[in-house]
């Protein structure tokens, strides 16, 4: 066996991995947009829908949260085409990530929405606001800011799950590293670089979330 760490090879692999990291970031951001949207819909359905909808959404959320993302990705990728819905690997991956973390985010939204006092709804009725306009202009602006840090944590968690997309051959970081490794039989450098990349991104984003948290707590006009 040659030496354990080969800087030359690491330098060769670096640009390819940097390119793949763009796909990783893209999948993260698109997945998170899906998660934020789906999560809000889940939360509203679970809190304000008719009884049958509450039960259904509650069951779906619990189901998604208690089963592995890996199997969910396989399910969407292999089973959806049987129902005539063929999507690219990237789209499938983004939807799977979005649904999985949407289920987690819905709990966060629920906490935020439940924290808005009932009097806010009553005051809006007194002001003759419609339900939709109350929700959009009165309730949401109070419900979201306190839960932004919690949502941010899920963004980081989602980001760390993107290597799973390699199983359906999305050319993100992990898949690129595996391909590099199988071509050269040297896995040490690519996989270590991928690990370092995730570590740096997670630490930076964790620091940003902490700052955001401080900023939100300090901003004037917030109740309490």
């Amino acid at each position: 066996m040659s030496k354990v760490w080969d800087w030359g090879y690491a330098w060769e692999a670096f640009p390819l991995l940097a390119e793949a990291s763009i796909i990783t970031v893209k999948a993260t951001l698109m997945g998170f947009v899906v998660a934020l949207t789906v999560g809000l819909l889940f939360a509203i359905g679970r809190m304000a829908g008719p009884m049958w909808l509450r039960w259904t959404v509650g069951g779906v959320v619990e189901f998604i949260r208690s089963t592995p993302l890996l199997i969910q990705i396989f399910f969407l990728y292999y089973v959806m085409p049987e129902f005539g819905l063929t999507m690219s690997a990237m789209v499938t991956g983004v939807i799977a990530l979005g649904l999985h973390y949407g289920a987690y985010c819905s709990e966060v939204y629920r906490a935020g929405l439940a924290n808005v006092p009932k009097g806010q709804w009553e005051a809006s009725i007194a002001l003759n606001l419609s339900t939709w306009s109350t929700f959009k202009n009165v309730i949401l602006p109070q419900a979201i800011p306190p839960v932004v840090p919690a949502l941010g944590n899920y963004l980081v968690a989602l980001f760390k799950e993107t290597p799973l997309l390699s199983v359906i051959a999305v050319l993100e970081l992990m898949q690129t590293a595996k391909i590099l490794g199988s071509e050269t039989f040297r896995y040490v450098e690519p996989i270590t670089l991928v690990g370092a990349f995730f570590l740096v991104f997670s630490l930076v984003s964790a620091a940003l979330i902490r700052r955001l948290e401080r900023h939100l707590n300090a901003s004037p006009g917030r109740r309490i």
Binding site: F74, V79, V167, V188, L199
Partner: protein, 234 residues
Amino acid sequence: MAILCFGAGLWVTGFSSLRDFLPELLRGVIVTVQVTAGGAVVAVVAAFGAALARLYGPKPLRWFASTYVEVFRGTSALVQLFWLFFVLPHFGLTLSPLVVGIAALGLNIGAYGAEVVRGAIGSVGRGQWEAATALNLTRAQALRCIILPQAFVAMIPPWGNLFIELLKATSLVSLITLSDLAFKAQQINQNTLRTAEVFASVLLIYLALSLLITVAMRALEARAARGLRRGRVG
């Protein structure tokens, strides 16, 4: 509840095709349970070790524990798994996939668990420490007899969530050639092409397993809380 869901799953997917591949899936379940159980033991040991080292250890140990927690929380479970699987052999350490799976996932969940343990120890009132000092207990004695038993109750619910995360993460070991439930699912899918049935029943099996963990942890919590109350009265 778990059995009910599982039964419903069997009914939904239809008995006829399930009968062909269910035994094979159950063989996968055994591996999944093995990795989950082994990983849970590693996670609890690592979490307590890291939390206690961070709180009370000498400086180098504290630094080491912090690095462990940050690194394992900051990178993906899959990257850690692959790193142990592909990179360790270069350092002359070749482990079986089962050991790699248990170690990687256990250490991953242990890093999250360390924060849970730290939080739970911190949540025990300062008066308890002061009372222990007044009773002339050493710090180790106070920790073992006074603080940890109380912290233990507070950390059971978050540990339940972590064990479910661990169960879900065990599906990753299928990618390092371990024939767990997820691996069997892919294999059977390739052989029989009954995609919908295979993956639906695998999802339901995972659901049943996580419900089992939830039920077990609730029972444990009720028991631990009862013990604590009795201790207070006595």
